[in-house]
């Protein structure tokens, strides 16, 4: 964001340049006037609140002047003269010598404003925007950034003296808090801006930010905090999470009102939707769209999908080489920055990207936004739509490109939801103890803490407002004594009190532990990733270790838009060379899949209800009609009134398909619950496939439909809410869901340390996998609260227990129709070919292995 955009200047406003030029204007007003810009009412509201010392949350969309709303708020807070009528504060062109002297003087006053950004990639651009007014207004003011990308020498320089304004990420801020002189460094801080707070608030990074703010507020009770947020279903909670319950003001900024959502309708919609399919049949239509516009962003949902689309676009239009680019989070920073700059300069015809371009800087030249596949949620769709339409008189428009026929349903649903103004809420994590454990060590490093004081401070953070003393004591014991408070481990050394009693100050005495903690601060969790680098030396990006581990020398894979040949791995780096030709594997990154939001899932169900009444309105529903007709013919059409269950016997085994249309997350829980209840009646192993529309249970042993759905009950017992919590927890233990969740918790709480190149042997002896910790905790410390947290997170975040309960209730209200089918239906097919599967087993392990081995033998004999 650099300036108020011209398409917004058509509104009536009294802040004309002439008005601002009046002698009673403030330096800030004069600077706006000098740029030929007007001041928006919401900007003035923000500044006035800031001058009063109020904190707040500004709700505005990108490119609306929000950056300068909060930037000048912070500046006027730090330097009140900027907001008062009076003479020019400084000469517009300062004399270099004098400026240098002043710079030194101000630098000695230290850090005044902290700017927190969720993405380090945004830091450079933000710095440019923030610097623009300074030469005229505050020439001595310095701006620096400190992120994971900042060089070692720059970090060292900053440690000697922080700039007046520091742009940083939550992780880097935590690192600063872990310095033993942290209190002194932040002693002059006046204001904090949290950019893109909506991106942070729902994650543990947001919790980390809350904790850092609690710390800084304690040192600076008058600290002003402003957050920036895009549209959310729960803005009020967003404000509370940042500022504290019922604190601060909510300022309504400019948000885009005109947003058009439409769909590229395939010419011959297939009647079978294959989830793994990448929708390349839409390639010609996408090529035509790109061709017809100066600059297009093509959003995909996964990095693998981005790689494939980029490759196929190039194959379709070799003449676009050099004019289209690829952008995703695993590419090297230099590559990403080049692409971002090229978009801004209008040099690129199209960029195939992932959520890596959801945030941040404006790309004014972008005319067109395409979304490959479903956007999975309304908020995300709106955000992406907002990437286009910055030229005068244009609306923001996003065009959906369905990758399979069923996504036409989602497209129809998305249009309904946008029209109805339904936007998702973003839940704030509740009492995540792993983040707290990490924070305790951070603060113990950053000058140490007293238990009661830090407990009080942590409770001021929204996510910990309900933190109980016993949970606090557990976390303290975990870092200070190694776990159970009743057992003393003399060898345990992490955080150590310097005395007995309540006045004890907890610190980290061991330098090696301090180093390891600082290396692993952060709550973003991904699988261990490896650098990918040419033999000659140029870096391309990073790929998950798991993918690299499967490669053999000579194997080919697609990455960074190029076909590469794997050569070898050496010290956390995978060396590659360009492959001459041929095809290769595409890396599959973890976590690429977003679940369909509840908001969108319900919108889809509404569309199906209409279809059941033969009401196919809109081009999407018209196009999906043949598929729905076939579904109806072979089986039945699930709606908000009817639950359809299909039963199929195939070579793979016995399948049950359920279609509740409640979204993927709920289906995971529902599938685990139903299969658990079935497996309680008779020991069995189920392989579970899930998508946003339904789920499949596959069993090697026969399923007796009459027994599961007796005429007297019709599934009522299966969908009962009775003993729901017990059954869900039992079903979780029979699957690996909790164990997978624990991976992240183990890393954040410092159990799992990923290591780094050139690490000493001694740290390698401290490496163990999260699953190993999980096992050991389960066996030897079942009361460990991190285990409880893993379970709670699965229940609340992954399975959405409340939604599960509501869904069960809805399902009991629906009429059940069980269809025996002879081949997979249009709805069943995508589930049947789904490769990622959860397992639930109540079989004895050796019985299960014996059965599997027998099947293997049988297969070998065939």
């Amino acid at each position: 964001m650099r300036r108020a955009r011209s398409d917004e200047t058509d509104e009536v406003d009294d802040d004309t340049p002439r008005a601002a030029a009046r002698s009673r204007s403030t330096p800030v007003e004069r600077w706006f006037a000098a740029q030929g810009w007007k001041i928006f009412a919401f900007q003035r509201d923000t500044w006035q609140a800031a001058v009063r010392g109020e904190s707040g949350l500004l709700h505005a969309s990108t490119g609306s002047g929000k950056t300068y709303a909060v930037w000048f708020a912070a500046l006027q807070r730090a330097v009140p003269a900027l907001g008062k009528a009076g003479p020019v504060l400084t000469a517009p062109v300062p004399i270099p010598g004098a400026a240098a002297k002043r710079a030194k003087a101000i630098n000695q006053t230290g850090l005044r404003i902290l700017w927190i950004t969720p993405m380090r990639a945004l830091a450079a651009d933000t710095a440019r925007a923030l610097e623009a007014p300074l030469s005229a207004l505050l020439p001595a003011w310095t701006i620096g950034s400190r992120t994971g990308d900042t060089s070692g020498s720059e970090r060292a320089r900053q440690l000697r003296s922080l700039p007046s304004t520091l742009i940083t990420t939550p992780e880097s801020l935590s690192l600063l808090l872990s310095q033993d002189d942290a209190a002194a460094r932040f002693g002059k801080l006046d204001a904090i801006i949290v950019d893109e707070w909506h991106e942070l608030m729902g994650s543990k990074r947001g919790v980390q930010t809350q904790l850092a703010l609690a710390r800084l507020r304690r040192w600076r009770p008058d600290l002003m905090v402003w957050g920036l947020s895009a549209t959310l279903g729960n803005l009020q909670q967003s404000k509370d999470a940042l500022l504290g319950v019922d604190r601060g003001v909510l300022v309504q900024g400019k948000t885009r009102k005109k947003i058009v959502v439409d769909t590229l309708i395939p010419e011959h919609p297939s009647r079978f939707a294959w989830a793994g399919h990448l929708g390349l049949q839409m390639l010609p239509a996408v090529v035509a769209e790109i061709d017809g516009h100066a600059s297009t962003l093509v959003f995909t949902n996964t990095r693998s999908q981005a790689e494939l689309w980029y490759q196929n676009l190039l194959a379709a239009r070799p003449d676009w080489a050099g004019r289209i680019a690829l952008h995703h989070g695993s590419l090297d920073r230099a590559v990403r920055e080049w692409v971002e700059l090229a978009i801004k300069n209008g040099q690129l015809k199209a960029v195939v990207c992932t959520s890596s371009l959801d945030l941040g800087v404006d790309f004014a030249p972008v005319e067109r936004v395409l979304q490959i596949g479903s956007a999975r949620g309304v908020a995300r769709l709106l955000q992406r739509a907002g990437r286009s339409g910055h030229s005068p008189g244009r609306v923001s428009r996003v065009t959906l490109v369905p990758t399979n026929t069923l996504e036409l349903l989602e497209a129809a649903g998305a249009r309904h939801a946008v029209a109805a103004g339904q936007v998702e809420q973003r839940p704030v994590p509740e009492t995540p103890l792993d983040v707290l454990v990490q924070h305790l060590v951070t603060i113990a490093l950053g000058g140490g803490f007293r238990s009661q004081e830090l407990f009080d401070e942590v409770r001021t953070a929204y996510s910990y407002r309900a933190l109980r003393p016993d949970q606090w004591q557990w976390a303290l014991d975990f870092v200070a004594r190694g776990g159970q408070s009743l057992i003393a481990y003399p060898e345990y050394q992490r955080v150590v009190p310097d005395a007995d009693g309540v006045d004890a100050v907890y610190r980290v005495p061991d330098a090696a532990i301090a180093r390891r903690h600082r290396m692993s601060i952060g709550t973003i969790v991904s699988d261990a990733s490896m650098q990918v680098q040419y033999l000659r030396g140029a870096r391309i990006g990073t790929i998950e270790e798991g993918f690299i581990a499967r490669l053999r020398a000579g194997d080919r894979f697609l990455f960074g838009g190029r076909m590469l040949e794997f050569v070898r791995v050496h010290e956390m780096t995978a060396y590659v060379r360009r492959a001459t030709s041929g095809s290769g594997a595409v890396p599959r990154w973890q976590g690429g899949r977003m679940p369909l939001s509840s908001t969108l899932a319900h919108a889809v169900l509404d569309c199906l209800e209409e279809a059941a009444h033969d009401d196919y309105s809109g081009p999407e529903m018209q196009a999906v009609k043949p598929l729905l007709a076939l579904q109806q013919q072979w089986s039945a059409l699930p709606t908000a009134r009817k639950l359809v269950v299909e039963h199929l016997h195939s070579r793979e085994g016995h399948h049950l398909f359920f279609y509740p249309f409640a979204g993927r997350l709920v289906h995971v829980g529902l599938a685990a619950l139903i299969s658990y209840r079935l497996a309680q009646r008779r020991a069995a192993t189920f392989s579970i496939a899930v998508n946003d529309y339904g789920f499949e249970l596959l069993s090697a042993t026969p399923i007796d439909i009459a027994e599961i759905f007796p005429a007297s009950d019709m599934g009522g017992a299966l969908f009962s809410s009775e003993h729901l919590l017990e059954d869900v927890i039992a079903s979780l233990n029979a699957t690996e869901l909790t164990q997978r969740r624990f991976r992240e918790i183990a890393r954040i709480s410092g159990l799992v340390f990923q290591g780094y190149p050139g690490q000493p042997k001694s740290t390698r002896q401290l490496q163990a996998s999260a699953s190993l910790f999980f096992e050991v905790f389960r066996k030897h410390d079942a009361g460990n609260l991190l285990l409880t947290q893993a379970q709670t997170e699965v229940l609340e975040q992954e399975l959405e227990l409340q939604r599960l309960r509501e869904t069960l209730e809805e399902l009991r209200g629906r009429r059940l129709q069980v269809c025996s089918i002879t081949r997979a239906t249009p709805f069943g097919f995508p589930l049947m070919v789904e490769r990622f599967r959860e397992k639930l087993s109540t079989e004895k392990l050796s019985d299960r292995v014996a059965r599997m081995l027998q099947e293997l033998e049988k297969a070998a004999a065939r």
Binding site: P490, A689, A700, L845
Partner: protein, 227 residues
Amino acid sequence: MTANHSSPGGALDIVVLGEQLSLLPQRAVLWRTRKMLIVADIHFGKAAAFRAGGIPVPHGTTRANLDALDALIAAHGVRHIAFLGDFLHARTARAPATLAALQRWREAHPDLTLTLVRGNHDQHAGDPPSQLAVAAVDEPWRVGPLALCHHPQELAGAYVLAGHVHPVVRLAVGRDSLRLPCFTFGTAQATLPAFGAFTGGYEIGGKQDDQLFVCTDDRVFAYPRPA
């Protein structure tokens, strides 16, 4: 290596160079004629080493290892235990509580012969304290036609039993899959699964000519040989 057949207790017997070895589901080998129990990678004190490094691991893993040994000693009349390397996890594994537990265990079995074939972790951790009366030897340690080692290797005139790898294999059938610790038996050498309660596993692709035996909690199964 010749044909195998199931024996009681879920074990599986195989014959290597005329010697009958029982593969136990408890992830150990029993050499019945010598009343010798062979275990690999027990990693005593690993939890303590983690704690010393500031990583809170609950106690109980040493006890679990010793209990598992006790059960096997009682069930099979074991007279001699051979540890195929990595007896102690690290120098910091020599925590007083860990060593005291080992000492008490040793005193409960005064007649047991204990031999450690040194592994890579033992190089750093040092030999077991002398009071434990564990004879530490370098690999290969030849016993009859077998050579007991830590690192997998081939030796002329002997069949090698080794550890170090912590092998596990993925058993996948249709849509179902499991990760199971396993023994691998090749023409000239075998590897044992890790015995330790706090040890991970390394997924092996399964060399085509190796015969795999997978462990569940109560039975050992032969993994079908690839056709």
